[in-house]
């Protein structure tokens, strides 16, 4: 079959008006169905004609999937809430600003106006071999093209690679993990809730999926508990171009400092591995220590323990080390005369 791109193949389109209808459609069509949220990731696959679902279930008409609600001092954010709505929400800004910063660093203004929080955490890997239609492990084949001697892999994983070396590209995911968020998932059988760091699956568990979502499942909301409201936050994303680009690496931390000591901390990075990584070893190492440059340096070193660079991504080790350091002890800002 010759290849042609940039024309979407035909599919059946459903636009359910509520969650119940959506999950019953997803149940009925099983693995033939494709869930369309903002569509920014989906349309790439569809226009490349690589993924060819029979049925597309467009969530855009489901009002109950959209909006930010305050719940017990925390928030419940509908999965179809756009990134722009998350960024601009006053409570997100005031109490959970790393989420605002993370969401704002994603993609471009128009993409954030349409792309959703649910879509951002559920998006597929961006490895250029995989997305180019190469038949790799993740695409059901039996090779990782990004891990061969001639592979160009500057954007790939330095940690936890298991056959596939692609990374998770989400910018909101590390912020949600740092905030101890939970993902609410519905299917026809009912609702289940998983912790943000458990929402993502790596190749060791399932090499063809990025999240725990199975056919028939729908991510409906993201809950952020009051636990870290108003904590000290740090978010930073390093990318090639300052708009549109996926992260070379990003970091998010939430921290409670008492008397100069780190009392509580959660820290996560993304684009270092196939899943966003919560850095529990770093959290354990710095908890109770003075919040200063030395602790930051130490945390950074702990973070990259075990990192294994590929041919072109060795820079990610100092990058992760330095970002984790900054997420703990801040940036030493320049003071130009």
């Amino acid at each position: 079959m010759a290849i042609i791109r940039d024309i979407m193949p035909a599919f059946e389109l459903f636009q359910p008006a509520n969650i119940n209808d959506a999950v019953s459609l997803l149940d009925r069509h099983g693995s033939d169905a494709w869930v369309l949220a903002g569509g920014l990731d989906s349309f790439d696959w569809l226009k490349d004609r690589i993924k060819r679902p029979k049925v597309v279930v467009d969530l855009s008409q489901i009002a109950e999937l959209r909006g930010v609600r305050e719940v017990n001092g925390g928030l419940e954010i509908g999965a179809m809430t756009t990134l722009t709505e998350v960024v601009r929400h006053p409570v997100v800004k005031e109490k959970f600003s790393i989420l605002s910063h993370g969401a704002e660093s994603a993609a471009s203004p128009q993409i954030r106006n349409q792309g959703t929080l649910g879509g951002n955490v559920s998006q597929d890997a961006r490895c250029w071999y995989y997305r180019g239609g190469w038949k790799c492990y993740r695409a059901g084949g039996n090779i990782c093209f990004a891990d061969t001697p001639t592979a160009i892999n500057r954007e790939h994983a330095i940690l936890n690679a298991e056959r596939c070396v692609a990374v998770n590209p989400s910018d909101s995911a590390p912020a949600l993990i740092a905030l101890e968020a939970q993902m609410v998932i519905r299917n026809v059988k009912g609702e289940r809730v998983v912790n943000a760091e458990d929402y993502f699956v790596g190749p060791a568990i399932d090499i063809t999926r990025m999240t725990v979502l199975q056919p028939g499942d729908l991510l409906t909301a993201i809950r952020i508990p009051a636990t870290w409201a108003g904590a000290q936050f740090y978010f930073e994303k390093v990318r090639d171009r300052q708009v549109w680009d996926f992260p070379l690496m990003n970091v998010a931390s939430a921290m409670v400092v008492n008397g100069g000591n780190i009392e509580r901390i959660r820290i996560a990075v993304n684009a270092a591995a196939a899943t966003p990584l919560r850095l529990t070893a770093v959290e354990d190492a710095v908890r109770g220590k003075a919040r200063n440059a030395a602790t930051g340096e130490m945390g950074g070193k702990v973070a990259v323990t075990g990192a294994e660079p590929l041919r072109y991504n060795g820079y990610k080790i100092p990058l992760m080390r330095n970002l984790v350091k900054r997420a703990i002890s801040g940036v030493e800002e320049a003071k130009w005369a």
Binding site: M1, A2, I3, I4, R5, D6, I7, P9, A10, R49, W128, Y129, G132, F145, T148, P149, T150, A151, I152, R154, E236, V238, D240, R241, Q242, V243, W244, D245, F246, L248, Y312, N313, G314, Y315, K316, P318, L319, N322, L323, K325, R326, V331, E332, E333, A334, K335, W336, A337
Partner: protein, 839 residues
């Protein structure tokens, strides 16, 4: 932002002033039509099937299932296309066709993405379904995507015929005869030896046999006697032009003529190109291109693929639109060739260059040979005025998308190779960076390149030293230099770079009519690609005739509307070439007005002057309005209203003029004015950057470009060109590149987020431009083109500033991204693979 023209520039009524261009309202309201915006009744659609392999031979095509689909109208392969045709020069000499050149479709795809066939159907959805039903049996052929790899012994060749371009040297002209046309280039196999590769070390470019060379002066003595000799390798990137408008085309036929809506930089010049591709008479080709969404050298005469909808349209008897997708544009939209360069440069202790020994390896892609390697040497020899120089070049084929000129072709690469060396020499010798540029800068009728006919060619003028002086003051160079370079986790640096390129050509035609309504109807064959020269050049017409701009109507963009022979809009020729053409045509009108006045009002023609929309007797007396003179021109006929066309003009212009006969006073002339030297323009760029030492990221805090472009015609358009092309260069510094997996020979980066053209967020926080304003002495209006030189200055001012912030040996190729900086800072030495292509 801040912009300034130096008071050097003489005052004009219109020139040097801003005005509203005639195309602007259509642009802001969305009414401006680009090729894909046209519709025709019964229009069909075409899409391309691209090669999935980097190099193969098509054994057979089974399109039966596709052709059987409802709505599928036709399939076109290379067998349906005309063979490559010879070209004819203005002097009537035949340039034989390059038999290995791109034809639009092919049975021997030579890169992944090379179009094999086109499917025509009632809509694109059907085209896509049909393409998926086509079965092609390919025979895989060896491939190579790295120009150095193909030079290794025993390595693959990109073409069956070989891996390097050679152009056999033509016999010298016989006395009294014009020089012979260039001979057809040939592909041959050339491999370097293991010893050639072993001789270079530490990322230095091996230097095996070159295919071309030239030299002047005693470069060996120059290097031997130098106080400092630097031997450096640098690699410039392949960069796709990525015009925002892809090269979509729509065609239909009417009464034996083909009407082609395409995207082209040059309206008039596209006609003979299309005629040659289609083996048709130029008078049967109508090109419509009122608005072109960017070109940058990749659409000088559109693209050969535009003949596909034309041929299909004839085949199916209906209009055909072939929309080119962004991914297809990545392949057929062409790119600037990369250059691997190695240079030995000698300096005296006070910074003057003593000699340059330059070796360049140009990656030419799979089709036409590129002139970038040679032009890199020529422009370098102009910009830095080495008293002695040797240039050696080799143009290598790879199985990657076709290359073509891109803004400052070759000149850019020459600047990119030289600037890091100049910058390093300044640091080693303890000389100010502006000073070392000034010491080596050209002035006056400076020489460039090797001798031709016993004498080195030279330029018309150069005021780059003035540009450096202006920039040094405006940028507060010395103050910035005195500041601290490190604070916290940040480092700052400042950089300067100079750059030059061809800025004009001669010999084209001007054509307009003064009608009895008193207005001037200018015919413009210039492409409307955003430079605004399509109307800017004709400001000269109004200036010379002394009429208000509001009385000038410009017709452009449709060769059925009687346009004159016009220079290609490329290589920054236009503002120079076409202000000259406008100038001679305006003077032709002036002469005719004076003659008509003398006939009617008595006296001699030279007793009359033209101004204030009238022709009047000097010192008082009779006068007549332009409207009256236009009426009289029609009555007089002959030369006055175009019944007689002067012999000197191009036949293309003559044919257009004949259609305008009898409408008023017809002004028509060819630019035969003398010019002593080759016209070039210059830019000095100044930049400050701030680097985050913990992430490798950097921001450009400030950028100033000072341009030596002669007389400024339209300040805002000029500013757009200067800063726009500066950004194009900055893109080469901060991100643009290709990525290939060498084993498979396939591209990984085909999308904007992979190839990384700069966004508004990459633009310097502050940008400004200034113009020296000194008129070029060899052209009547004094204007030169500016599209090219800002590119090299933009790129290298940034990279020199980075070196200032970080020291030498952090990077040795462009672009420089955070990963390169961070890895090198971490290791204390360059960590990037210096020579591997497309990483």
């Amino acid at each position: 932002m801040p912009a300034k023209i130096s008071p050097n520039q003489p005052a004009y009524r219109l020139l040097g002033k801003n005005y509203e261009t005639p195309d602007l309202v259509a642009k802001v309201t969305g009414k401006a039509k680009y090729a894909e915006d046209y519709r025709a009744e019964g229009m069909l659609f075409a899409r391309l099937l691209l090669s999935p392999m980097p190099h193969a031979r098509v054994r057979s095509i089974d399109a039966s299932a596709a052709l059987a689909m409802p709505g599928v109208k036709a399939i076109l392969t290379v067998d349906d296309l005309p063979a490559p045709a010879d070209a004819m020069t203005d002097l009537g000499q035949v340039i034989p066709a390059n038999k290995l050149a791109e034809r639009g479709l092919t049975n021997e795809p030579v890169y992944q993405g090379d179009p094999i066939l086109a499917v025509c159907a009632v809509d694109e959805y059907t085209c896509a379904e049909a393409i998926e039903k086509i079965r092609i049996d390919y025979e895989r052929l060896p491939h190579v995507v790295d120009p150095l790899v193909t030079l290794r012994p025993g390595s693959p060749n990109a073409r069956v015929e070989g891996n390097v371009w050679l152009r056999p040297v033509a016999a010298p002209p016989k006395p009294g005869q014009p020089p012979p046309p260039p001979s057809a280039p040939q592909v041959q196999e050339l491999k370097w030896t293991d010893a050639d590769f072993a001789a270079s070390k530490d990322g230095q470019l091996p230097m095996g046999k070159a295919t071309d060379k030239w030299e002047y002066g005693d470069w060996e003595a120059g290097l031997k006697n130098a106080d400092l000799v630097l031997d450096e390798t640098f690699v410039s990137p392949n960069t796709s032009h990525q015009c925002l408008e892809t090269r979509t085309a729509m065609a239909y036929w009417q009464n034996g003529k083909v009407y082609l809506h395409c995207s082209t930089q040059s309206t008039s010049q596209t006609v003979p190109a299309v005629a040659r591709w289609l083996h048709m008479d130029a008078s049967d080709v109508i090109v419509i291109s009122e608005y072109t969404g960017g070109g940058f050298g990749s659409k000088i005469t559109s693209s050969i693929q535009c003949i596909i909808p034309a041929v299909l349209s004839k085949k199916v008897g209906a209009p055909v639109m072939m929309r080119i997708s962004r991914e297809e544009e990545h392949f057929i939209g062409k790119a600037r060739p990369s250059i691997h360069g190695r240079m030995k440069v000698g300096f005296t202790k006070d910074g003057r260059i003593t000699a340059v020994d330059m070796f360049v390896l140009c990656e030419s892609g799979p089709y036409d040979p590129q002139g970038d390697a040679n032009q890199a040497g020529r422009q370098l020899s102009l910009m830095y005025q080495p008293p002695a120089m040797r240039w050696q070049g080799i143009s290598v084929l790879t199985n990657t998308p076709p290359r073509v000129s891109q803004s400052q072709p070759g000149g850019f690469q020459g600047i990119v190779l030289m600037e890091p060396i100049l910058s390093k020499a300044a640091r080693k010798l303890g000389i100010d960076h502006v000073a070392i540029h000034r010491i080596n800068a050209p002035e006056g009728k400076a020489s460039l390149g090797p001798a031709a006919g016993g004498k080195r060619p030279y330029v018309t003028s150069a005021f780059i030293k003035e540009a450096l002086d202006i920039g040094k003051a405006s940028f507060h160079w010395d103050e910035r230099k005195a500041r601290a370079k490190r604070s916290g986790t940040k480092a700052r640096g400042i950089g300067v770079a100079t750059s030059c390129f061809v800025g004009g050509s001669v010999g084209f035609d001007g054509l307009f009519v003064i009608k009895p309504d008193g207005k001037v109807y200018v015919q413009s064959g210039i492409g409307n690609l955003g430079t605004e020269s399509v109307s800017d050049c004709h400001r000269v017409t109004a200036e010379v005739l002394g009429i208000p701009w509001e009385k000038v109507e410009v017709t452009w963009g449709h060769t059925g509307r009687n346009l004159p022979w016009t220079c290609p809009s490329g290589g920054s020729q236009t503002i120079h070439a076409m202000t000259r053409a406008a100038f001679v045509a305006a003077h032709d009108a002036k002469d005719k007005l004076q003659q008509i006045a003398a006939k009617d009002l008595g006296g001699r023609a030279e007793d009359y002057e033209v101004g204030g929309e009238r022709v009047y007797r000097k010192g008082g007396g009779g006068s007549m309005s332009l409207a009256q003179a236009a009426k009289r021109a029609i009555e007089l006929g002959g030369i006055y209203d175009g019944h007689e066309i002067p012999k000197g003009v191009n036949k293309f212009t003559a044919a257009s003029a004949q259609n305008l006969t009898g409408q008023g006073l017809l002004a028509i002339a060819r630019d035969t004015m003398p010019r002593d030297g080759l016209t070039h323009s210059y830019v000095a760029g100044f930049a400050e950057v701030e680097v985050d030492l913990e992430t490798g990221r950097y921001d450009i805090l400030d950028y100033l470009a000072v341009a030596d472009v002669g007389t400024v015609i339209h300040p805002r358009a000029l500013g757009g060109q200067i800063l726009g092309r500066s950004m194009l260069g900055i893109g080469h510094a901060v991100g643009q590149k290709w990525v290939y997996d060498q084993h498979y020979g396939l591209p990984l980066a085909k999308r904007f987020h992979h190839n990384k053209p700069p966004t508004i967020m990459e633009a310097p926080t502050k940008m400004a431009w200034e113009a020296v304003g000194l008129p070029d002495p060899e052209t009547p209006i004094g204007a030169r083109g500016i599209g090219e030189p800002p590119v090299g200055a933009g790129c290298m001012a940034i990279l020199n500033a980075l070196s200032d912030a970080l020291g030498d040996d952090v990077f040795r190729r462009a672009p420089v991204l955070a990963d390169t900086i961070l890895a090198s800072l971490e290791a204390g030495r360059p960590m990037e693979e210096g020579l591997t292509a497309h990483i």
